[in-house]
């Protein structure tokens, strides 16, 4: 309750105050007051609405206390008084406020790391300490990053509004990239606080839903949501209780979250009908093929190769080709896949070496496989992944 109410209230207050710091302080005041009063008076019928209304009053108090009251303060105060008891506590307007704030947080004038941190702080209601833990940086570093970003929003005049239609596609792409980054950070990294990481995934999915509501006709937004749901559905099967990585082929599919999969598959089907494919939709469709297979050996790899071909035709990249090669190995065998991988020469990528290692291992070219595992281990930044690669390297025997 706390995080979601916090995020919603901050979004409303940013609109009426026109200032992030004042909004955050007012909302924090309101939560302090709730902690004092609710145990006595009982929880109000609409806790989130109570927080917003109380935060408004505290914002007015703050403005009145300030000795220097410039024109902007007076304007904000007028607005705080005027809009009271308007319809803003209803779902629609509150959602609009959050959307405005997403686009402010994901403004391209901010560094990506700042976009991610701001989004989690202001919309997700995560504390600075939690965000710092999730990204494995000292709390002081994260606090400084947030202060600097908020300072830039204020001083450079980054607006609080949903971009105009002609800007929207580019800005939406930036917001989607941040949401997916938040999701991946929660999903992929193995170090750090497990609970916070789960929260990152949940928050990314919530923001993904918000973007879909903003642009219901944009299939890429729906594709991103489906992609996250389908991947997140495998969370319970993806690691052993002691944190070791379990490959997709070896996961216990009964542990998958089938309600998430159902929702993801339904979105993918709707996207296919729209027939305006994009990278998120195609990645969602690839994951849907995996999700639809009851056993790993039932996976329709030809379909996956075809989807990668489509991906490569609309958004070509060597990473797509690398992933395609993995699917080719299942259809045409490891030798054919290795030829494709070797042609890419992505020497700086640990995944390139890990995939080569696996293909060489399957071809029983052990010495080369061992060298490729070593290269992958040296480049991997993820502890669980490194452990996995070291075990595979050891399984080759004495080479």
């Amino acid at each position: 309750m706390f995080r979601e109410a916090y995020g919603r209230a901050v979004a409303v207050l940013v609109r009426v105050c026109g200032d992030i710091d004042t909004a955050e302080e007012a909302v924090q005041d309101a939560f302090v007051e709730a902690l004092e009063r609710w145990p006595v008076t009982g929880v109000p019928p609409s806790p989130a609405g109570w927080i917003v209304t109380t935060a408004r009053h505290r914002a007015v108090d703050r403005y009145r206390r300030e000795s220097v009251r410039d024109e902007r303060h007076a304007e904000a105060e007028r607005r705080l008084a005027r809009d009271e008891h308007s319809d803003e506590l209803e779902e629609g307007p509150m959602r609009d406020d959050q959307l405005r704030l997403i686009f402010t947080c994901c403004h391209p004038a901010l560094a990506t790391s700042a976009q991610v941190a701001l989004t989690l702080r202001l919309l997700g209601g995560l504390t600075t300490a939690e965000i710092a833990r999730a990204f494995l940086v000292p709390e002081a570093t994260m606090a400084q990053r947030l202060v600097r970003a908020k300072g830039k929003i204020r001083d450079a005049g980054i607006p609080y509004r949903v971009p105009e239609p002609k800007e929207l596609p580019a800005r939406l792409a930036a917001a989607m990239a941040v949401v997916y980054l938040v999701f991946n950070e929660g999903y992929t990294a193995s170090a750090g606080d497990r609970l916070v990481r789960d929260d990152l995934c949940r928050e990314a999915i919530r923001l993904g839903r918000l973007l879909v509501e903003l642009v219901p006709d944009e299939p890429e937004a729906a594709g991103l949501l489906a992609l996250m749901l389908l991947i997140d559905a495998r969370r319970a099967a993806r690691t052993t209780p002691d944190g070791a990585l379990v490959l997709l082929a070896e996961q216990d599919r009964l542990l998958w979250d089938h309600s998430k999969i159902g929702e993801g598959l339904a979105i993918v089907r709707r996207c296919l009908q729209a027939n305006r494919p994009g990278p998120y939709q195609i990645q969602a469709a690839i994951n849907a093929v995996h999700s639809a297979a009851a056993r790993a050996e039932d996976t329709d790899w030809r379909q996956i190769v075809a989807l990668y071909d489509l991906h490569q035709s609309i958004a070509p990249s060597p990473i797509v080709q690398l992933n395609r090669a993995v699917a080719v190995a299942e259809v045409d065998g490891p030798e054919a896949a290795l030829a494709l991988v070797d042609a890419l020469g992505l020497d700086a990528q640990h995944r390139f070496h890990a995939i080569r290692a696996d293909l060489l291992r399957r071809l029983d070219r052990r010495a080369e496989a061992a060298a490729a595992y070593d290269a992958a281990i040296a480049l991997s930044a993820n502890a669980a992944e490194r452990t996995f690669l070291q075990e595979m390297r050891a399984s080759l025997g004495g080479v």
């Binding site: 026109g18 024109e71 902007r72 304007e75 904000a76 405005r100 403004h107 004038a109 001083d155 450079a156 005049g157 980054i158 607006p159 609080y160 509004r161 949903v162 971009p163 800007e167």
Partner: protein, 128 residues
Amino acid sequence: MTTTREATGRMKQYLISFYQPDGPPPPPEFLAPIMREMGIIQRELAAAGSWVFAGGLHPPSTATLLRAKGDDVLITDGPFVEGKEVLGGFTIIKAPDLDVALEWGRRYARVAPGLTVEVRPFQGEVDG
């Protein structure tokens, strides 16, 4: 939605700086169309009531530095910072927010590939 600034008619001022590769100036036939385009943008800025000031600079080799030392002020040959890219000129505009300022900056950036455009806010606000 109107922002606070639009509602109150307050504007921010932005410095739009043009950074170009250091070295001898490009030939006139290269520069002429660029200067013409920049002139068009400047007239549009003026028509929109957003233009404040603009100027092109001589090369950094013409710069002179001053630094207080005790009671004296030392004069030395510039520039202050040597770089592969140098400040070639700038425009100052008024805009309600960064998005509007960036839109003007984008226009300038398109004029000359290889030119880096920096948009930086001034402190304070002015009347619209």
